[in-house]
């Protein structure tokens, strides 16, 4: 009788170690097939294009008049000399808001969006397993952090190469490094910027476990991001500021020094790890005990 077979069937062959990867792959593909994700990536890709064109138009009158750009994001003035600096400028321009906002949207939607759509209950009875699903969600958000940063960097590199000369570049310290080494530094910076988003990703994931509305979770995460960014600008809060997740974000510029100045970079990565641990644990504690009644 098939009734007798049915319960025995799954036990016949134990799950292979790679079977769990299926959910991660499914999650990555599903995230990337949402139009919202694609729109965010398109906006991020457009930022370097806008910056590049703006710098190009501004400097058309006098090619040598590059010293006037004291305002604006870091490295803006050097772009006309070397297109590679557009990568640094674009990352410096997007790191305070655009990148973390995009990450906040994806992270905030990760659990709450599924809950709101009702698909969460079907994933859980599949059974995805709550801890496993949360890990997969966080891994996907982290992958999005890296992807978003790389989209900005690659777009900036392409625009920089099209509109400006490329070649050996001068570091902040005044020394000269080869273009190849400059490219290596650019990649390293992209990785550090992506790692800088680990904290806000964990925060977004935690917020996402608190509500059944994807929109509410996204708005809360982005709202928190803006609030923290403002708090980080208030000098009177100097006692608290080193513990705010965006405080050391712009330390990635130290990678363009020669030799590299590591102190703030390490502090930044340590702070991100702390946020990931605290809010990751909070998200786990919340999600594994939550009643899924939607």
């Amino acid at each position: 009788m098939s009734r007798a077979e049915a319960p025995g069937a799954p036990a016949r062959r134990g799950p292979g170690p790679l079977w769990s990867v299926g959910l991660l792959r499914s999650e990555l593909v599903t995230t990337l097939r949402r139009w919202r994700t694609l729109a965010l990536l398109a906006v991020l890709a457009a930022v370097p294009v806008l910056v590049g064109i703006a710098v190009r138009i501004e400097t058309r009158g006098g090619p040598g008049a590059d010293g006037g750009g004291g305002e604006g994001p870091a490295f803006m003035a050097q772009i006309t000399n070397n297109g590679l600096f557009l990568v640094f400028t674009a990352l410096a321009a997007t790191l305070p808001f655009f990148l973390p906002m995009a990450v906040g949207v994806v992270a905030g939607d990760s659990i709450a969006g599924e809950a709101g759509a009702g698909t969460l209950r079907y994933l859980l009875v599949a059974p995805a397993g709550r801890t496993r699903l949360l890990l997969v969600k966080y891994a996907t958000v982290l992958a999005f952090c890296l992807l978003a940063t790389l989209v900005v960097a690659v777009s900036a590199l392409a625009v920089g190469a099209l509109l400006f000369p490329l070649g050996d570049l001068t570091t902040i310290s005044g020394t000269s490094i080869t273009f190849a080494e400059g490219l290596g530094r650019a990649l390293l910076i992209a990785l550090v910027v992506a790692a800088s988003l680990v904290g806000v990703a964990a925060l977004g994931l935690f917020v996402s476990t608190l509500t059944n509305s994807g929109i509410a979770a996204m708005a809360t995460t982005v709202g928190l991001l803006i609030t923290v960014q403002i708090l980080d600008q208030i000098p009177q809060l100097h006692a608290v500021r080193p513990y705010l997740f965006p405080h050391y974000w712009l330390s990635f510029a130290d990678l363009v020094r020669d030799p590299v100045y590591w102190d703030d970079l390490v502090r930044n990565l340590g702070l991100q790890a702390l946020y990931a641990a605290v809010f990751g644990s909070a998200a786990w504690a919340r999600f594994t005990t939550k009643d899924i009644s939607v």
Partner: protein
């Protein structure tokens, strides 16, 4: 009306207790083929607001049954189902599914349970096929090598192969419901939990779903079907339980439940007064005359003699029927109230 109903209730409670007693006496370990696919004991859920959604539920679902879980909307059916599937933590009490405790054994139990909970939930921007691939990928015990074949088979089973490539957003409600059923059929299951599977469907869609449920049950899969529609339970189910306001009112085999409320003899005649007199003489109890229709509880004797007596007394008989007792009659007998379908 009250007496037969109460009798049915007692009988159902007896059948419910006996097997549970056996199980605990024998101390049988959680085997692969439990006699009770679902067994809860004192299952209770109180929400944070203090609202008691499920109150001391002792539910027993025998293996191989098609079990109707009946009750008006808001009676605690869905909360019970969510507790059985590990989505909601019970406030107190225990639940065993396929012989293992839930939610503790969710990882081993749930791959053998297919579920449709409060309607389907789909990724609108994914095709029907991709929705199923995603749900199957969520199950860590599902073999990825056979995933595509199993998804295709499930789509075929619910008749969605032709539209498998269309985005789920474009599906009609009936198609979404069927895709939800397909997700429950991705693997061989020991138990199917279907929460209101025909909700929101047109009569044609309802017929299709019911036919599918019957087909699945004939394969031997235990089906736990919740509904607020009495006739649905009566058409499809072998066993049933009735909930109201978080409490279990009765459970047992549908035939037993319906037998609790006995059938009624109905005579259609232009001479109701005379017919009522003759019927009372013939031992028919609780005779009620309503227009040209006279009904009553049938006597023990042969009904042919009752009919002959009517004709002999000059009563002109247009119709003479024994109306089978329905589950609704049983429900009314039990609760003394109608079943609020509109809920």
């Amino acid at each position: 009306m009250i007496l037969p109903g109460t009798g049915g209730q007692e009988r159902a409670r007896e059948t419910e207790r006996e097997p549970m007693g056996e199980q605990s006496a024998a101390g049988r370990p959680a085997g692969d083929a439990p006699e009770q696919v679902i067994a809860t004991h004192g299952l209770t859920k109180r929400y944070r607001g203090g609202q008691l959604a499920v109150d001391g539920l002792d539910l027993t679902v025998p293996a191989g049954s098609v079990f109707g879980f009946l009750g008006p909307n808001g009676s605690g059916k869905t909360t019970t189902i969510r507790m059985l599937l590990g989505l909601i933590e019970p406030t107190s009490g225990t639940a065993r599914v396929l012989g293992r405790p839930m939610p503790r054994s969710a990882r081993t139990v749930l791959p053998r349970v297919g579920a449709l909970i409060e309607g389907p939930a789909l990724y609108g921007f994914l095709s029907g096929r991709d929705n199923l691939l995603r749900y199957d990928a969520a199950d860590p015990t599902a073999d990825p090598r056979t995933r595509r074949a199993r998804v295709a088979a499930a789509l075929d089973r619910v008749g969605l192969t032709a539209v498998a490539g269309k985005r789920a957003r474009a599906y009609s409600l009936g198609m979404k419901q069927r895709l939800g059923l397909a997700a429950a059929l991705l693997r061989p299951r020991g138990l199917l939990v279907l929460d209101e599977p025909t909700n929101g469907l047109d009569p044609q869609g309802m017929r299709e779903i019911r036919a599918l449920v019957k087909e699945l049950a004939s394969d031997g899969t235990t089906v736990f079907l919740s509904s607020h529609l009495l006739d649905e339970i009566e058409q499809v189910c072998t066993h049933a339980a009735v909930m109201a306001q978080g409490r279990l009112i009765i459970q047992g085999a549908v035939a037993d439940l319906a037998a609790g409320a006995r059938g009624r003899l109905a005579v259609s005649t232009p001479d109701p007064a005379e017919a009522a007199r003759v019927l009372k003489e013939q031992g028919v109890a609780a005779v009620v005359a309503d227009g040209d229709r006279v009904t009553g509880e049938p006597p023990e004797r042969d009904l042919a003699e009752v009919n002959a007596a009517l004709v002999a007394a000059g009563v002109r008989v247009r119709g003479f029927t024994l109306e089978r007792a329905s589950l609704e009659d049983a429900f009314v007998a039990l609760t003394g109230e109608g079943f609020d379908v509109a809920g």
